[in-house]
């Protein structure tokens, strides 16, 4: 299953080219694989290893450290409820229990129709909007149980397909560095004093 497609391999090569060392591109490339398939497959990791010039084990080593990379299929929508302190103070644990009861799954589980995976997560930097959650990393603020129910209805009916892309797609605008504007990746070896420093030297300090 699922090496990167030809089009994605081109994107991958462009990303790799921005870094002084190819391995630095690993996390963005794992995201690319997850965007393509909804999760990170073994074949994609092998392909990434080839592109970056490391072993597949090294790719797995990095991949397995990070919470966002799923190494088995998850729901189309990942619903992450923050239960950390600011949200806990304003009812996040109750919201999580409501979600578990409504969806019929425990945190970490996926609904039988494969639509929703529920997670109990750490602070997502929206603490003043507690309790809050993310659907595929899109925010919902000050979520009451009724709001949660409406969200689930909307996900089921397809009302949010434009706003919330399927799991794996993060930002939908990619950085593009035009070749005629690129300064280029700065190799860690053989570096020289940058031109704008060399051309504007600091005056020699007065010796006291």
């Amino acid at each position: 299953m699922a090496r990167l497609t030809e089009a994605n391999e081109l994107v991958a090569r462009e990303i790799i080219g921005r870094y002084p060392r190819p391995k630095s591109a690993l996390i963005p490339l794992l995201h690319l694989a997850q965007e393509q398939d909804g999760w990170v497959t073994d074949d994609a990791m092998e392909h990434i290893a080839e592109l970056v010039g490391v072993t597949a084990a090294e790719v797995l080593g990095t991949c397995s450290f990070y919470e966002m990379f799923k190494r088995e299929p998850v729901g189309t929508y990942l619903v992450n409820i923050c239960t950390n302190i600011s949200c806990q103070l304003l009812g996040a644990e109750e919201l999580l229990h409501h979600a578990e009861a409504t969806l019929g799954v425990k945190a970490g589980g996926t609904t039988r129709d494969g639509l929703i995976t529920l997670e109990d997560v750490e602070c997502i930097a929206a603490c003043t909007e507690a309790p809050c959650l993310q659907v595929n990393y899109r925010y919902r603020y000050k979520v009451a149980p009724e709001d949660f129910d409406r969200l689930v209805d909307d996900l089921r009916s397809g009302a949010l397909v434009d706003e919330v892309p399927p799991h794996g797609t993060l930002h939908r605008t990619r950085q593009r560095i035009p070749t005629d504007r690129a300064a280029g990746a700065a190799s860690p070896v053989g570096g020289r004093e940058p031109a704008w420093i060399a051309s504007r030297p600091a005056p020699a300090k007065d010796t006291p």
Binding site: E67, N84, C123, N136, Q175, A183, A202
Partner: protein, 454 residues
Amino acid sequence: MTVTDAPRIITSRFDVADGFTIDRYEATGGYTALRRVLSMRPDEVAAEVKAASLLGRGGAGFPAGVKWGFCPPGVWPRYLVVNGDESEPGTYKDRLLMEKDPHQLIEGVLIACYAIGCAQAFLYVRGEMALAQERIAQALNEAYARGYVGRGILGSDFSVDVVLHWGAGAYIVGEETALIESLEGNRGMPRLKPPFFPAAKGLYLQPTVVNNVETLANLPWIVGHGGAAFAALGAETSRGTRLFAVSGHVKRPGVYEVEFGVTTFRDLLYSPLYGGGIRGGRALKAFIPGGASAPWFFEEHVDLPLEAGAVGKAGSMLGSGAVVVMDETTDVVKAALRLVRFFARESCGKCTPCREGTGWLEKILQRIDSGLGRPSDLDLLLDICDNISPSITWPPKQTTICPLGPSAVSPIASAVLRFRDEFEARIGAPAPVTVAVHGVAYNSKPPVEEPVGA
């Protein structure tokens, strides 16, 4: 109240609907600071930032200008890594700066690269922040197209690529050496300092400056108005303005830009401009002054200024500007448990005291919370804390590679020492504490109430 009329330095475009676009940015003075620095010498720009006394806004609060000076002379290339990994519980400001005014940050990044002599910059945005990534990608594309970033910036000999990088979910990656490991494509585990101080041996073991998003967002204003104008605001070591996220049991939770050093916690919690008071008119029980890693403060601390030195002397820190307010209804056992669970989940596992200690702290607190606690449990908790961070002082001593382990001690020592009765009620028996705890805030006593009419 000391609510001041300090200008809004970094949130001036927050209320403008299209403040994130390059057209709005240019129309409101954007990229003029970049033009200005190109007519200055890099060392002059660095001197201006030093004069501003800009403290890092990422947590440790180190002066930015001084840090830049730590790069060893003559070692090239240097890199800039922007820390946009914001994930300290209670912290909410960098995401807003990236979403609402990405060009301000990019201009700050360019100014820093120019002053330090960085050959490349990496803007590391937290993985979970899809919109922030989108806005920065868009903003960088626009900025490249108009000649502000890349080769020969605005026709000068200043050339630098700014690369958007994005993470994948791991709190520890916010720690600067873990951030660098992650940017090298590795598991995000911190490196030992020394020798791996980023300024000396950072990204690819080259000199690297790691700065927080909010720190860099201040640079366009500092260049535009001068370091002295920035330093004229605030007090003591804490100059300029700063963002504070006030969350929890206040009437008006929000992210507020306030004058640093002089505004007080009372202002933040009670001023109608900011927190607006405790919800339902209830009493304050405790508040966290600077993120989950900070020792808690109480009623007797509300008149302290938001000044790094004063807060440090009182036994805590302003950390990442996260003020979490707990009213009298708060279950402190559950609050402490939740915070410790966070550290246990996020420990990278590299050091034994942190990996094992945080796990045991969580299990013991879980047992107390579920009514199965033992009279020896409070001492056991503090004994583990003492192993992770000997003598439970502030600032904490470290037996670990990074400060994450010792951070788990803060909520436990705070809650157990101040609210022992609540833990004992849960345990159902007296639970003595014999382990010596030295941090000042942990030993703080509630103010004695003056009898009315005395």
